[in-house]
């Protein structure tokens, strides 16, 4: 291994610093039209009439799609439940839902046309609070639901019918009642998290056109070309080879672009317009198109006086918005981790994914875990304070270890969590019990340190396929549907292939996704690419490797085991002058120095959970991470500054350590924002702060003066070079680490509702002063 584990120069840097990348919104096609959507102003309403005829007559308008254009299609789609219409049909279920989409010669004309579309609504009662929505008497959003067969194990979700609860997931261990009876003390609290934005600076963008043969081509900023291809094929009743999805580099995504959102509508519009149509959302529209769901987490923990946790019951309510997207998946994967990376003999974990009349949700960086983590890591510190134990020791006492059986009944493999936590504690200068017993500082500025850990799964089972093509000149191409959205997939996958074939880094290229050419991949999400596509790419390259070694063995009269590939050539180990170049191998194999050598591999993981019991194999590998934060709180104004932050992730093997550090920095910043100020605010379903003037992303000034990223390597037996993943891993513990640091600074005063804004701190301090 010469490339894997080193900080090779990231692919594509030159284009990025010269503004030469062709992102989805940059693409230009001849005779291209521009799209704009008319969106519902109501959170819940019957759609009585949609009449676009006047708008169609506006000069420059070429086509408009409404519910009248859905004949001949399967008009509903979704990765798990077919509940999302291409455009609104009989009703609208959230403010901003597209009712019509216009294609015109200019964006200005498209916008003007919206004013001419006549729509009659009949408002319906709406529901926005997740607990209210889960009640049987709440207004119901979906009176009938279907299932999709889009590559998800739908039987694993426990779909509910009749109300707004979309799905329920439950898993348990031991005997929860007995557990609580055995406890010396029981604490019970409710934690809440608001909806937040992904914040990808590039909005959703797609351009679609239809070839005369009836083939759909769509260029989309999507994390999921295979999934979008599948959805479009299903909607338009086409075989998949008649749908081509091409994905450029993405300007950030963090989960927000994982499922088909604008693609179905733009495809339909392009078909009607008979010209390429481009749709680039404005920032306000992005707020209406995707978000991280809010949640209410009820957590009850029973423990002994010596701090031993004996029972934990967690119930989580996820507000998944108007359409399911992968809400039920999140409910499942958020369920079994809801009690934390801890051995607790008796537990009962239940998650509800609930429809609300708010914009759709879906995947989000760290989403399977962040909500539960906010609750269980805050509780951990409060319990430590109660039993007067060092919060670090209390955690170490219960942390899962290699070989432990998790609540799903599976054995945990490659468990570096204790290392993550210890090294984080070291790096933040953790002084044990003292951290929860700081003497008053005598000034209005108080400091505190906090720790938090997490466990997260990767979506299992899934499939990633790759093919590698070796050219006679010794350069190679990896064909993959993995998307590079800044995390550096084009770099890390090239490192893996390069090492497998002994090629220098510059000789390996990674394609952009194009479903005409690149084989199936589940998606670039769940931080799964290094492990899954890395495996597929490595094994695909290995097929070529075998071919090369076989030829070499014959030609050099050596045994395969004695040969090695390095620096673009094959040689006998220890005898470098006995070598063959790739071109010479081609000549020997094919009789000429032209042609291609192929390798391909379809990598499947096995697993899944029994929906009735919640038991089985949830993840082919697990993410473990820790965060340490030091804060300074101004107790008079409530203002919090994060002075220092440490994140530690068990990556298995760092393919590119510097890029891993960059992922952690992004996770830290997003976590910091969610902890201290990010929240989407609604007034009866109307978004109040759906722009960057009012919804702030963390700035350079907000970034802690000191941040360190630590990488722990506990190799995974199935990962390429032992690698697991990192993209999201560091995010979930950030908010609780900051929350714990604040609580420790404030001598135990705890805020349970994110974000922790200054007014909440002042209120909590006043309240605690009044109480004492």
């Amino acid at each position: 291994m010469t490339l894997v584990g080193t900080d090779v120069t990231m692919v594509g840097g030159l284009a990025k610093v010269t503004g030469a990348v062709n992102y989805a919104p940059d693409l230009v096609f001849p005779h291209m039209l521009y799209a704009k959507a008319l969106r519902s102003p109501y959170p819940h309403a019957k759609l009585l009439r949609v009449d676009a005829r006047k708008a169609e007559r506006l000069s420059g308008v070429v086509a408009i799609i409404t519910r009248d254009d859905l004949t001949g299609l399967n008009p509903y789609f979704g990765p798990v439940v077919d509940d999302q219409p291409v455009v609104a049909t009989d009703r609208v279920r959230h403010v901003g839902e597209p009712v019509a989409v216009v294609a015109a010669e200019s964006r200005e004309i498209a916008e003007e046309a919206l004013d001419l579309i006549e729509v009659d609504y009949e408002e319906l009662p709406a529901v926005f609070d997740v607990l209210a929505a889960a009640k049987p008497d709440a207004p119901v959003l979906h009176t009938q639901r279907q299932e999709t067969n889009a590559g998800v194990h739908r039987e694993e979700f426990n779909f509910q019918l009749g109300g707004n609860v979309c799905s329920v997931f439950h898993v348990e261990d031991g005997d929860i009642e007995k557990g609580f009876r055995a406890a010396d003390e029981i604490v019970e609290n409710t934690y809440t998290l608001p909806p937040i934005q992904h914040g990808h600076i590039e909005p959703h963008a797609a351009t679609a056109y239809w070839e005369p043969s009836g083939k759909l081509v769509i260029h989309s900023a999507s994390q999921n070309p295979s999934g979008v291809q599948e959805q479009l094929a299903q909607i338009f009743r086409l075989p998949e080879n008649q749908v081509r999805v091409i994905v450029p580099l993405l300007g950030g995504a963090y989960g927000g672009k994982t499922h088909a959102r604008i693609e179905p509508a733009i495809a339909l519009l392009a078909r009607k317009a008979r010209r390429p149509v481009q749709w680039v959302l404005t920032r306000d529209e992005v707020f209406l198109t995707g978000r991280r769901y809010g949640a209410v987490v009820k957590i009850k923990t029973g423990f002994k006086r010596d701090g031993t946790l004996v029972a934990r019951e967690v119930v989580l309510f996820y507000d998944i918005g108007a359409y399911a997207l992968n809400g039920p998946v999140n409910a499942k994967t958020g369920c079994y981790v809801a009690s934390g990376p801890y051995n607790i003999p008796n537990r009962s974990l239940t998650t509800y994914s609930v429809y609300t009349n708010l914009p759709p949700t879906g995947p989000f960086r760290g989403v399977r875990v962040s909500h539960g983590c906010w609750a269980y890591e805050s509780e951990m510190d409060d319990i430590a304070r109660r039993v007067e134990l060092d919060p670090l020791e209390l955690r170490l006492k219960h942390l899962v270890k290699e070989g432990d059986i998790f609540v799903t009944g599976e054995k945990l493999v490659s468990v570096g969590i204790a290392d993550c936590l210890r090294r984080t504690a070291d790096a933040i200068g953790w002084r044990g019990k003292e951290e929860q017993a700081r003497p008053p500082s005598g000034s209005n500025l108080v400091r505190g340190k906090g720790l938090a850990v997490t466990i997260k799964s990767t979506t299992t089972p899934t499939t990633s396929s790759a093919s590698v093509r070796l050219n006679a000149d010794g350069s190679a191409m990896l064909l993959t549907s993995s998307v590079d959205m800044g995390q550096g997939a084009q770099t890390s996958l090239a490192q893996i292939v390069g090492d497998e074939l002994g090629l220098p880094f510059e000789k390996v290229s990674v394609s952009l996704p194009d479903t005409d050419v690149t084989p199936y991949d589940k998606s670039t999400s769940s931080s799964r690419t290094t492990f899954h596509m890395g495996q597929a790419a490595q094994k695909a390259a290995r097929e070529i490797r075998s071919q090369l070694l076989d030829v070499g063995a014959k030609q050099l009269e050596a045994r395969v085991e004695d040969l090695e590939l390095r620096d673009g050539a094959l040689c006998i180990r220890g005898t470098p002058d006995k070598r063959m170049t790739i071109a010479e191998i081609f000549k020997a194999r094919f009789g000429s120095t032209v042609g291609s050598m192929f390798g391909g591999h379809c990598f499947h993981t096995q697993g899944g959970l029994n929906p009735k019991t919640g038991k089985g194999k949830a993840a082919v590998f697990w993410f473990f991470s820790a965060c340490g934060a030091e804060v300074e709180v101004d107790i008079e104004t409530g203002k919090v500054r994060v002075l220092r932050a440490i994140t530690a992730v068990d990556v298995g093997k760092a393919i590119h350590p510097r890029m891993c550090g960059l992922q952690n920095q992004g996770s830290l910043l997003a976590g910091l924002g969610s902890a201290l100020f990010e929240e989407m605010v609604y007034d009866n379903g109307q978004p109040i702060n759906s722009n960057f003037l009012e919804y702030m992303l963390p700035s350079l000034e907000d970034h802690p003066r000191e941040f360190h990223s630590l990488l722990i390597e506990t190799p995974h037996p199935e990962g390429p070079w032992g690698a697991k993943g990192i993209g999201e891993a560091a995010l979930p513990p950030v908010a609780p680490a900051i929350g714990n640091a604040i609580a420790n600074a404030l001598e135990g005063v705890r805020i349970r509702d994110l974000p922790i804004k200054p007014d909440k701190i002042v209120e909590a301090l006043n309240f605690s002063k009044e109480r004492s």
Binding site: T9, M10, G12, G13, L14, A15, K16, V17, T18, G19, A20, V21, N22, Y23, P25, D26, V28, E108, H198, G199, H200, I201, E202, P203, L249, L250, G251, G252, Y254, T282, R283, M485, G486, Q487, G488, R658, L662, Q663, N664, Q665, G666, S667, L668, L669, A670, N691, F692, L693, L697, S699, L700, E701, H703, F707
Partner: protein, 153 residues
């Protein structure tokens, strides 16, 4: 309906006709096909549309195209001179101060603006000046490292 202006775009003087309601960003991207400046928020906050007007950074998404009349407009595409990268671009490459790259041109133009007004900024000065350019991927530390290298060089 069109307004005739004359502006210097990346060193080249151009006679242009712009619409009254056209922003500079739209002029650059739609008419001049300079796609390096991008729209992230449309309200002057994220900084991804940053270009220099007479050497000073502005949000091109909030500037009327007509106001480029008589001005020197510098976009990311104008930094490469005779095939050579600008020192800021080189520093960004050295420190890998980007991930997805969407905010990068704006960030680079902001750094150009910073160094034009303050060739040797302290870290605090750099933070203060650049804090108006947002990066969601999380590359602030590397940007500061690039600026430090440029300030010391």
């Amino acid at each position: 309906m069109g307004i005739n202006i004359s502006a210097t775009i990346n060193g080249r003087q151009k006679a242009l006709t712009v619409r009254p309601n056209q922003t500079l960003l739209e002029l650059l991207r739609d008419d001049l096909l300079l796609k390096g400046s991008v729209e992230g928020c449309g309200v002057g906050v994220c900084g991804s549309c940053t270009v220099l007007i007479d050497g000073r950074p502005v949000s091109s998404c909030l500037m009327l195209a007509t106001n480029a009349d008589g001005k020197e407009v510098t976009t990311i595409e104008g930094l490469v001179r005779h095939g050579e990268l600008d020192p800021v671009q080189k520093a960004f490459l050295n420190h890998q101060a980007f991930q997805c790259g969407y905010c990068t041109p704006g960030m680079i133009m902001a750094v150009k603006g910073l160094l034009a007004s303050n060739p040797r900024p302290t870290e605090e000065q750099a933070r203060d000046y650049l804090s108006g350019n947002l990066c969601r991927c999380g590359t602030y530390q590397e940007v500061l490292a690039a600026v430090k290298e440029l300030a010391e060089g």
